[in-house]
Amino acid sequence: MRLLVVEDDPQLREQLRAALEAAPYAVDTAPDGEEAAFMGETEPYDAVVLDLGLPRRDGLSVLRGWRAAGRTMPVLILTARGTWQEKVEGMDAGADDYLAKPFRMEELLARVRALIRRAGGQAAAEITCGPVALDTRAGRVTVAGQPVTLTAHELRVLSYLMHHQGRVISRTELTEHVYAQDFDRDSNTIEVFIGRLRRKLGVDVIHTERGLGYRLAAP
């Protein structure tokens, strides 16, 4: 899962990045409205954490721009402006959730998780595929009740596949959603992750569709 964090305060931006990367998500950050607008329109994010009071371009205008351009990724507004009038305005502009500063990081993480889950059509906090279960709250994976230890990258790959199970996902798509923008991408490493995942899970849930990509389905 790949996230965009738009926040002009450098301290808070780094705190958000650290907390979200530990979740673990691939995180891009933007310090101002213009950059955020561009990144949101060109990169495929699974969720956006958006501040409103931004330099160069207001957050609400950025959000409206994305929605007008047909970008449907879930957006959580994280702002100091917490009146109901501003919440209504933000939700009307196309936001999916609204959190007022100061906030508890756990609450932000929970809300981001819920946004991503709902965007993938998953209602419960635990996503299952056959014997494989992903607890999105704790980032824990179990196979038939037995915990499996995964690295952050492996977890991101599995998490993306779990959220979009049944659908064929290309290696490019997987790459885009697993790595942050500044990461040195190599789609061949995806194959390495898939191989490791198959080994660690021990069950045949990740199917290879020749020339298309991967599909997650119960064995």
Partner: protein
């Protein structure tokens, strides 16, 4: 500054003084003019009598004892009737030679010698029958006489005085009526003239009642500058309040991001006690900021003039937003607002109050929320937020409104929601009451607010 009294009374008092003074002067002047006129008339008549008398005198003999006779009687019969008030007398060298029968056995009261200039001289004396006697005299030199004759005609002034007195009485009566008319006119003038001030007062009452934000309507050129200045002051004041409010908001919001940073840093600190302390204190700071921010805003605006906002769109916005903020709860929100309902105050404050109530309802309800707004009595409206959740026991309802109370710490929220609503409602002179909803069985929050 002392009391300056009524403008109307002041204008009226001036009118009274001015009218009375003018009419008094006019009365005195007219009476004097009339007296002069009557006197001039009398003088002309008496001069004729005197000329007639002079022409009738004849001196048939010669020498010192020359007889003096009246060749014919004077035409006016009053000269014949004793003490009639009309007399004549001819004297020569200080001795009376002839006099009218009306003088009977008296002479006219003597005066000094008459100047020999042939002119008519008037003097006053006491009349034989009482009263003032006006005497016209002329020294005449007849060709036959060896000494000049002093010819005098006299009339009692009583008739003159009576005519003047009558005139003065009629005049005083007329002027009195005129004075009353003028004063009535002045009263009407003052009333009509001050009508714009009454309109201004009504406009100001509207302003205070929140019906308008500025003094409306056109006023006479004397009052308009005042109105323009007042509107300017109102606009300046509104600007100032808006600026102060923006500043307060900016300050509060500027504090929140660093506060978030501090709270998050504390969370990852090794020293658990310090971390907890910082977390508790930052949370308290956040509550303080929210509380005072909303209070400052409401305090500045609640007494502000002329604000009103349509209730329906404000509630519709919240009704759209609340279910989306609680997507996992699958909330059915039923909204009913009376047509044309206007809240007297800031839309932001209205949304803050109802938003907090709805958010509470959304956290606790079992899927259903009813939001309704309707007029309630004169100048008030009533907004009810009801849900089908567990409600709050009657004995704990007062405690929920206390600042910072949270009945269940497990449900996320500031715990200040209901207290802020209560605070805001009070600032607007309204109230918040909690009750059990008869239909849905959950909590029913009833918000009473001023209606425009």
């Amino acid at each position: 500054m002392g009391r300056v009294g009524s403008l109307g009374r002041r204008l009226l008092a001036l009118a009274v003084v001015w009218v009375l003074l003018a009419l008094l002067v006019a009365g005195v002047a007219l009476t004097d003019l009339f007296r002069r006129h009557v006197e001039a008339d009398l003088t002309r008549a008496m001069e004729q009598h005197l000329d007639q008398l002079t022409a009738a005198l004849s001196l048939p003999g010669q020498g010192a004892d020359q007889p003096l006779v009246l060749a014919r009687e004077l035409s006016d019969p009053r000269f014949e009737r004793p003490l009639s008030g009309l007399y004549w007398q001819v004297s020569q060298a200080g001795a009376v030679r002839l006099r009218s029968r009306s003088l009977w056995d008296q002479d006219l009261p003597g005066g000094g010698p008459v100047p020999a200039d042939g002119a008519l001289h008037l003097r006053r004396a006491v009349a034989p029958e009482g009263g003032t006697l006006l005497i016209w005299e002329r020294r005449v030199s007849l060709p036959d006489a060896d000494q000049p004759l002093d010819i005098a005609v006299a009339a009692n002034a009583a008739a003159l005085e009576a005519a003047t007195g009558n005139f003065a009485r009629v005049l005083a009566l007329s002027l009195g009526v005129l004075a009353l008319g003028l004063l009535a006119a002045a009263l009407v003038q003052v009333r009509l003239g001050l009508v714009p001030l009454d309109r201004l007062r009504a406009a100001l009452a509207d302003l205070r009642a929140g019906q308008s934000t500025r003094v409306q309507g056109a006023f006479p050129s004397e009052v308009q500058p005042l109105v323009d200045d007042l509107n300017q002051v109102l606009a300046d004041n509104a600007d100032m309040v808006e600026r102060a409010r923006t500043q307060a908001g900016n300050l509060a919001h500027a504090l929140k991001t660093p506060l978030a940073v501090i709270a998050n840093s504390a969370h990852s600190m090794a020293d658990a006690d310090s971390a907890r302390l910082i977390a508790v204190e930052t949370e308290r700071m956040r509550r303080q900021i929210d509380h005072h921010l909303s209070r400052a805003r409401a305090a500045a605006m609640a007494r502000g003039a002329g604000l009103r906002v349509s209730v329906a769109p404000a509630l519709a916005g919240l009704a759209r937003t609340i279910p989306r903020l609680h997507p996992d709860r699958d909330i059915a929100l039923d909204l009913q607002v009376s047509d044309g309902l206007l809240f007297r105050g800031e839309g932001q404050d209205l949304q803050e109050m109802v938003g907090n109530l709805l958010d509470n309802a959304a956290k606790w309800c079992a899927g259903r929320i009813q939001l309704s707004a309707a007029p309630a009595g004169p100048g008030q409206l009533c907004i009810i937020v009801a849900d089908n959740g567990p409600g709050i026991p009657a004995d704990r309802r007062a405690a929920v409104l206390a600042r910072g109370t949270r009945l269940d710490e497990a449900v996320p929220g500031s715990g200040l929601g209901l207290a802020i609503v209560d605070d805001l409602a009070r600032l607007y002179g309204g109230s918040l009451e909690l009750d059990e909803d008869a239909a849905l069985g959950g909590l029913s929050a009833r918000l009473t607010l001023p209606r425009a």
